[in-house]
Every structure is written in C-alpha cells, then in structure tokens.
C-alpha cells in the first residue's frame, strides 16, 4: 500500500516536472483543448441564459373563443355562465361590432374594412385561464370548443411552445457537439501523449528490462493526460470568461432597450466541476488509449 502510494506520488511529481520543462507544448495543447471544449460549453451557457429570458417573460396564455355567427341568445348566455366558473381567471367579451371598429381604427386595415359590405367578424371572448400548464390549457380549450354556439377556439401559447422547441433543439445540439468535442479531446490528448511516449522510448524499454510493470510505465503518461485535460478545462473556462466579459455590455444594452435588467449569468459550481471532471476524464482516456497502443508498438519494434 505504501509502495503503491509512493509510485503514485513519484509518477505525479515526474509528470509535473515534465509539464514544467515543456511550458510551450503544454500551453498549446491546453489551448487546443480549451477552444474545443469552450464551443459546446459556451452554447450550453448561452442556452441556459436564453431559457432564463423565456421564463422571465410574462406568461399569460390566452384562449380566444369565437362564436358562431348564428349563435342563439341562450347559447351566448350559457357560454357567459360557463366563463364565470373558477377555472377562468378573467373573461372579456368582444362584440363583433366593436371588433370591426377596432380593426377599422388601425390605419393599415382601414382601407380593407371600408370595402366590406357586411361585418365578417364573429362575436368573441378573450379568456385568461387560471391554469398555466400546457396540458391543462389544451384540456380547457377543447372543452370550450365543445360548448354549443362556439365556432372555434384559439389557444394563444404557440410562441412559448416554439421557443421551447427551439431550446430543445439547441440542447440536443449541445449534446451532439459535446460528444464530438469529447472525441476531439481524446484525439488531442492521445496525440500529445503519443509524442511523449515516442520521446521516452528508451526509458520505456530500459524500464521494462529492469522489471517495470505495464502500469508503472503507463502511470506517468496517464497523469500527464489527465493533467492536460484539466488544464484544457481551465483554458476553456478562461475562454468563456473572456467571451462573457466581452458580451456582458452589449447584452445589458439590448436588455435595457426592452426595459429589462437581464444580465448574463456565469456557470454555477456544479457545472464548472462537471466540465473540469469530464475534460480530465477524457484527457486520461486519450492517454490510456495512446500509451497502451504505443507500449505494444515500442516492444514489437525492439
């Protein structure tokens, strides 16, 4: 056990020393990884902020209820009674004459309405339901459609659905990109480690000859891969921090134009830890693949 710990400490010290002796290579590899990782994680952050915008907007779904032109007075009364029930927060009646008057008042449409011989608009109710969930809204909307005298209802929550759908696509893109860049990360790490293994060919051969196990030989390279990955993750954090600082002012300006105090939020601790953990893991994985392959090649070429 003590020997094992000693091996690990020795490997870690060796690794740190190697990284220190090649600051330029280390920096370049870390930067390549950092830029690669910053793309999916940046997109993830952007989406998170966008989702926050979406949830901040006043969510007031409305149901427009259009009556049959020939609806009877009883039917209209029944509908009015139905809309006084507690699942309706507020309901506003818009008679067809008023609707036409509103339409005519708007300058763009005045020409069109002036040419009409009769009013084509139905009587309508603008209903604001108590419920806000998508399912409840659809259920209410359907039940209102079935009332006698109702021609059709129109559930006005489409913009929210579309935004949600777009965000969902964005999240999928984050995962796909994340997967691709994880592969890129493994490749970058594997390549860096392969160069290291080849540079230390003699050491590996001699170590094998005097009794080093495969694990003993792998260990410093695995540490190297993991540390490179961690540095890559930190570099990604740096890239995102710089991008965030640059974007902060224009975003706040835009939000100000909408009368909002919105500002960009940085990632939380869990997200930072997850990114650093994953980059470390993928750096290690690339090193493992590379060193295992190279070990066999080095020995075969002996």
């Amino acid at each position: 056990m003590i020997g094992w710990l000693r091996h690990h400490r020795h490997a870690l010290v060796t690794t740190l020393r190697r990284l220190g002796t090649q600051p330029f290579t280390t920096l370049l590899t870390a930067l390549a990884m950092g830029v690669a990782i910053s793309l999916p994680s940046g997109l993830y952050l952007g989406l998170g902020n966008l989702a926050r915008v979406a949830s901040d907007l006043p969510a007031q779904p409305e149901i427009s209820l259009f009556l049959n032109v020939g609806a009877s007075a009883e039917q209209k009364q029944a509908i009015a009674a139905r809309l006084k029930q507690p699942d309706i927060e507020q309901a506003r009646y818009v008679p067809r004459d008023q609707a036409l008057a509103t339409l005519s008042a708007s300058q763009d449409l005045a020409d069109i309405t002036a040419g009409l011989t009769e009013n084509p608009l139905p009587d309508a109710w603008i209903v604001r339901p108590q419920a806000s969930s998508r399912e409840a809204l659809v259920r209410l909307s359907d039940s209102l459609t079935k009332l006698p005298g109702v021609a059709e209802t129109h559930l006005d929550s489409q913009w929210a659905e579309r935004l949600q759908a777009a965000l969902d696509i964005g999240r999928t893109v984050v995962w796909v990109l994340g997967g691709l860049f994880a592969i890129a990360l493994i490749a970058i790490s594997g390549n860096a480690i392969r160069a290291q293994v080849l540079a230390r060919r003699d050491e590996i051969l001699v170590s094998r000859l005097i009794g080093a196990t495969d694990w003993h030989i792998r260990r410093p390279f695995l540490y190297l891969g993991a540390l490179q990955g961690l540095l890559g993750g930190l570099a990604a954090g740096g890239v995102l921090a710089i991008a965030g600082t640059i974007l902060q002012a224009p975003v706040e300006h835009l939000a100000g134009l909408y009368g909002s105090t919105f500002h960009l939020l940085p990632p939380n601790g869990t997200e930072i830890a997850a990114v650093l953990g994953l980059t470390t893991l993928f750096g290690w994985l690339g090193a493992w693949l590379s060193v295992t392959r190279a070990l066999h090649q080095v020995e075969a070429a002996r």
Binding site: G3, W4, R6, H7, H10, D202, E203, L205, V206, S207, R208, L209, I210, G211, A212, T213, D214, H216
Partner: protein, 220 residues
C-alpha cells in the same frame, strides 16, 4: 537455479539461434558462455530473462517455467535478475545516481533508502565522485561500470552479463572481472557471455561453449 531442456529458439525469418540446448546452472555458480559471435550467447541470456521466449523446449528459472510466464509476471522475474548489457542501455537524460536508483524506484522502495543503497553500489564500482555526472560524460569503461551498478543495486540473486568487457581495454576489463569475482564470492549466481579468455582463466569457474546454436561443456 536455471535449467534448459531441449530448448530451440528460431527467430522469424528462420534463423535458428539455439538448437536443442540442455543445461543446468546451480545457485551460486559462476558460468562463462563462450563462442563466436552469432553462436547464440545473447539469445541464451535473453531466454533466461524472458526477453525472448523459446520456440520449443522448457526454460526454467528459480522453478518458474519461462515459456508459460504471463506478461504480468515477467517484471517480477526480472526484478530478481541483474542485467548487464553490452551496449549499457543507460538513460542519458538523467544523472549517474538517477540511473542506478531506477530499479529501486520501479520496485517501489523508499526514496531515501534507495539513494543510500545506490550510493553504496556506485562507491563499489568506483564512480562515487561522478554521482551527479551525466552518462554522456563518462568513458566507455565508466559507462559499463554504471550499467553493472544498476544491475546490482537491487541485490539480485542472478546476474546476467552480455560481453561486459567487450569494448574495453585490458585494464578496465580486469577491474570489471575482479568485481564479478567479488559478487560470486558473496553468493550471487553469475552467467557471463564473453570471449575474453584471460578473464576466464583468471576467474576460473565453469565454461559452456556455444557453436552454431549447439552447446558443449569445456573441461576446466
């Protein structure tokens, strides 16, 4: 300690380095391997250290069958064997003491204890004042002695040396052979491949002669 039973080693390409070799070496013996170059001396040593595997026959070292030894077990076998190479196989990016301490690092010894042992061995091979030097600045004889120090630092029961005096002048060669005699006297088993006749007569011991992959005992 070492036994070969009808061992044949054929390299890819068809060259047969050893043909039906049988031999036995007891613990504490000093054995010279002689023969022209290409007779199979190096191959025989490599088979003992599991650097090569026999094509047929059984090689057994300390009761372990080398042909059946798994890749995982090989390092532990080698930790009990000191290897002296004709081309030294030193690491040129580290100092004399770091080269010698390498086997102990690999075996997981305490660093301070390792350095103490390494210094003792370096002193024995007469390189103590070159402890911090890099191998590149050492002469051929000094490099060979460094290689021997590295082979001995883990106090192996068996020392295999391939042409340890091959490229050295007579003075250095005598020094090194004298060192081997000391190790033999403290009970180390030594197998030395050489064609240095003077060394063999000076040290005595058993001589095995290899000729085109076949072995014969040379009467002392």
């Amino acid at each position: 300690m070492i036994s070969f039973s009808q061992v044949t080693k054929r390299y890819p390409g068809g060259h047969e380095a050893l043909s039906g070799v049988s031999l036995a070496i007891e613990q504490g013996e000093l054995v010279f391997l002689t023969g022209h170059s290409g007779a199979g001396k190096s191959t025989l040593l490599k088979l003992i250290a599991a650097i090569e595997r026999p094509t047929s026959g059984v090689v057994s070292v300390s009761g372990q069958n080398i042909s059946r030894l798994s890749r995982r077990a090989v390092p532990y076998l080698r930790r009990n064997i000191g290897l002296v190479f004709q081309d030294h196989k030193l690491l040129f990016d580290r100092s004399v003491i770091d080269n010698v301490v390498l086997p102990l690092d690999i075996a997981g010894f305490d660093r301070r204890e390792s350095l103490k042992r390494a210094r003792a061995v370096i002193d024995k091979v007469g390189l103590l004042n070159r402890e911090k030097a890099h191998p590149v600045s050492l002469s051929g004889g000094e490099q060979q002695r460094l290689c021997i120090a590295r082979a001995l630092v883990s106090r192996p029961a068996l020392l295999l040396a391939d042409e340890p005096t091959g490229n050295l002048d007579a003075g250095y060669a005598a020094d090194i052979m004298a060192m081997f005699r000391d190790f033999h006297q403290v009970g180390t088993t030594l197998v030395i491949a050489t064609h240095d006749e003077r060394a063999i007569t000076a040290l005595g011991g058993r001589t095995l002669h290899l000729d085109h992959g076949r072995i014969g005992e040379v009467p002392a």
